[in-house]
Symmetry: C2
Subunit: 249 residues, 2 copies
């Protein structure tokens, strides 16, 4: 059994979050940045949309009455849209207004005092989906692309609208990556491995965006502000190590 | 708050475990291999020895009466020796017999039915320290090396002895890496970044050793035998998604 000693960062999303565990993914980078400070819980589920995320999030985020026994989620990233933006009749397709209201529901679960999942110490960062490259994606799936560049763009813009309404910071990976290409679709493969998923360079845009928001909006979560839970070895009182190693003392 | 939904792999050790969160480290690789199946909790503390590990482990591994609320540790790796093998008068130095008895204490905390931390569902893998390269290490610290090749070798052999006595599998990274060099010390920098810590190639020996033991000794922990906690998106009943997404149903 693992005792609860470290608070956590929870990454909620689809395959773009799940794939963040790979080398140079944003989940891996956060794990390295916050090692010995916060555990990173990857809750990325490939293929998922906001519609399917809601019943899952109800089960993976603790309710208030369970909170005393479980790690505090200090930071929650919410990163959907790559699948919601799939074109009908894909089972993944979520209408744009529903996508926005689903994102809002996920946020209010955590931020609304009347919610069973209310968690005022959880800071939230929204992440907009990156651009999609239908040329690469069609090649990858060996058929007609079920994503369109202009459609995914609308879903990315919707995240910024939800962020503005809710007063939450957004990592606009769509604009970040698109600007890096110089608005040249042929440069997208630097950031997208198959037209939909991110390369290490694409993940760098996400990670850098998260760290910039932490620095500017949630400075108490900056890694420099969070101490090692288990102290540095050269701070141990070697003659009295057992007492010196009491966590939190 | 993060609800307890996934069991965990806990990696207990020193900087060689802590550094495993970097790209291609064994912690990162396990996170990727077990994504959506088991969370990886990195409990590597740079500079730590078995002597300091015991009071820390007493706090980070849940006691029996706490077990109902916390994730089960399905796999525990114990990886010390790189610092215990530091030469006296280093404060890190732990005498060889003490090192062995400390490792045994850590193991018995989990395996002994009379222990407060008894956890029969936790499988244990011991990891022996890799070879040290005093030439690289002296250069890195800018002084006389406080580690010796032949001394660290004794600590690695001690892990195998403890494993044999306790009936536990050992990743013998010392022999694994030394054999890969063709017993040529000048080849060690392929596996050691500074003479003490591991490169991605060094971590590959650790990761491959862990996966080999899982396959042969703990097959129930093989990733192919553990289902996604949250089901694959193409297994969702789209017409009845809320009921279909009940975890564990």
């Amino acid at each position: 059994m693992a005792a609860y000693v470290q608070d956590v960062i929870m990454l909620l999303g689809d395959s773009l979050t799940q794939g963040g565990v790979e080398p140079y993914g944003f989940s891996q980078r956060l794990s390295a940045t916050y090692v010995r400070k916060l555990d990173v819980l990857n809750r990325g589920f490939g293929g998922y949309t906001t519609e399917w995320a809601i019943p899952v999030f109800e089960q993976i985020f603790a309710k208030q009455h369970e909170q005393q026994h479980v790690p505090k989620v200090r930071l929650l990233t919410i990163f959907y849209g790559a699948n919601d933006a799939a074109l009908a009749p894909s089972p993944q397709h979520v209408e744009l207004p529903t996508y926005k209201s689903n994102l809002t529901k996920l946020i209010h679960m955590v931020t609304s005092p009347s919610s069973q999942w209310y968690s005022p110490e959880t800071k939230i960062i929204l992440i907009a989906p990156p651009p999609v490259n239908p040329v690469q994606w069609a090649e990858h799936i060996g058929g007609v692309s079920d994503r369109k560049f202009e459609v995914t763009k609308l879903y990315a813009e919707a995240v910024k609208e939800v962020g503005a309404t809710e007063g939450l910071p957004v990592v606009d990976s769509w604009t970040g990556i698109w600007d890096k290409t110089g608005h040249d679709q042929s440069k997208l493969p630097t950031y997208l491995s198959d037209g939909l998923h991110l390369t290490p360079a694409g993940y760098e845009v996400i990670y850098d965006g998260i760290m910039k928001i932490i620095t500017e909006t949630y400075p108490e979560l900056h890694p420099d502000k969070i101490r090692f839970v288990v102290k540095a070895w050269d701070e141990i009182d070697y003659k009295n190590h057992r007492q010196s190693l009491v966590i939190g003392a």
